[in-house]
């Protein structure tokens, strides 16, 4: 295990009071991708662009293209929960071990 005290993070003298985060959008810094065991792989042949996976994804890891079609899955944030695969009406998403 890495020694947590050696990491270059701010210390108690400089962090904000009460453990609070004094700015918005900080969850962007938190990459949930490293939680993942299996990753979603989409079969574009089967996909009908219903966008269910985009709506159901709890991490907003699925994107939508400018013309309203389903886009890339951002693996920095996809935590591999498999909800998209479960909800896809066309069985177009398979969860595969990385």
């Amino acid at each position: 295990m890495a020694d947590k005290t050696k990491q270059e993070k701010p210390g108690y003298k400089t962090i904000p009071m009460g453990g609070m985060i004094p700015r918005a959008g900080s969850s962007e810094d938190y990459k949930t991708g490293d939680w993942r065991v299996k990753k979603p792989v989409r079969d574009d042949e089967k996909c009908i662009d219903c966008l269910f996976c985009y709506i159901f994804c709890p991490e907003r890891a699925v994107s939508v293209t400018e013309d309203g079609k389903i886009g890339k899955i951002n693996l920095d944030y996809c935590k591999g929960c498999g909800i998209c695969a479960e909800e896809c009406p066309k069985d177009a998403i398979k969860m595969e071990l990385e």
Binding site: I15, G18, G19, M20, I21, P22, R23, A24
Partner: protein, 393 residues
Amino acid sequence: MGKKVALIGTAAMATAMRQINPDVVSAFPITPQTAIVQDFASYVHNGMVDTEFITVESEHSAMSACVGAASAGARVMTATSSAGLALMWEILSIASGLRLPVVMTNVNRALSAPINIHCDHSDSMGARDAGWIQFYSENSQEGYDNLIKSIRIAEDENVRLPAMVMIDGFITGHSTEILEILEDSQVKGFLKENKAPYSVLDIENPSTFGPLQLTDYYFETKKQEADAMVASMDTIKAVCKEYRELSGREQPLVDTYMIDDAEMAIMVLSSTAGTTRSVVRELRKDGIKAGLIKPRLFRPFPKEEIIESTKNLKALAVLDRSDSFSGQGGPLYSEVRSALYDLDTKPVITNYVYGLGGRDTTIDQIKKAFNDLSSVAKTGKAENLVNYLGVRE
């Protein structure tokens, strides 16, 4: 100038709350605190305060509502006792961990079981490590004064910690005493604007309160809180000095009576200090060099003042109105012993657990403790370090 009034202790606390005029009060009734929020609810109803009064179904929710309101930057108060404080326990450390200056009266009452409504300090001593500033009050006057001071202390930018003020259930809470209250305008003038560094309602500067902190930041946040508690002593002293100038009441953090030439002394919190003082007065008539030490503050622990007050003593008995069930005596005793441990010369320190469940603590009991102490002072040895005062065998 202030005026003299005759009030029961809970009414004195409610009066202080009226004069403080908090933005939000959320509370749940529990004996013997109920009279405070009952009085305060009538002030709200009669338009005597500007407070938003949030009624809830439990103390857990009361403290949760206080945390929410304080996160928005409001001046927040509540009151509780015994099981009510115990039910708040989870949220107590959230208030302190988030550094929210919630101020509360705890009317001391024994914890169940056996169920009991009378005074001991098991409730607030159970919360001694929750990160709250703790004041203990001998009488209504001190309770009133401590509550007003606590607002200034808790809200100070260098402190930002919650504070609880104790008065003894029934003994102080339901007894009528004369006290001097400040003018409403004096209290208003004494309090400063509550400048919360962040507010959850400030949409211009969005912020997150209470995010998850695991192995990476939790420790730092807690160390910062620990430092804030230690550093709060400076603010406490400054606020007490300012309040002394306003009220004319000398209220040192560790009060003493006849201590300068005392060979032995009793140290005790809250109302039993009054009983002890009268025993000291009597013993002094017989030429016995007895004294009294009464800490008003327990968190942060006033170590320097405690050391100063005990420096000439041969024997010291620390009285605890709660037990720690450790075989090592009550909480005040263990902390006082620890504070004196490193000194080259120190008194022999014994402990008496007393008054549990509201058991009367009589003049005779205090005399007995002094009697034991005088042989400890003579021999330099104590037969028993931990004793129980006023319990039947």
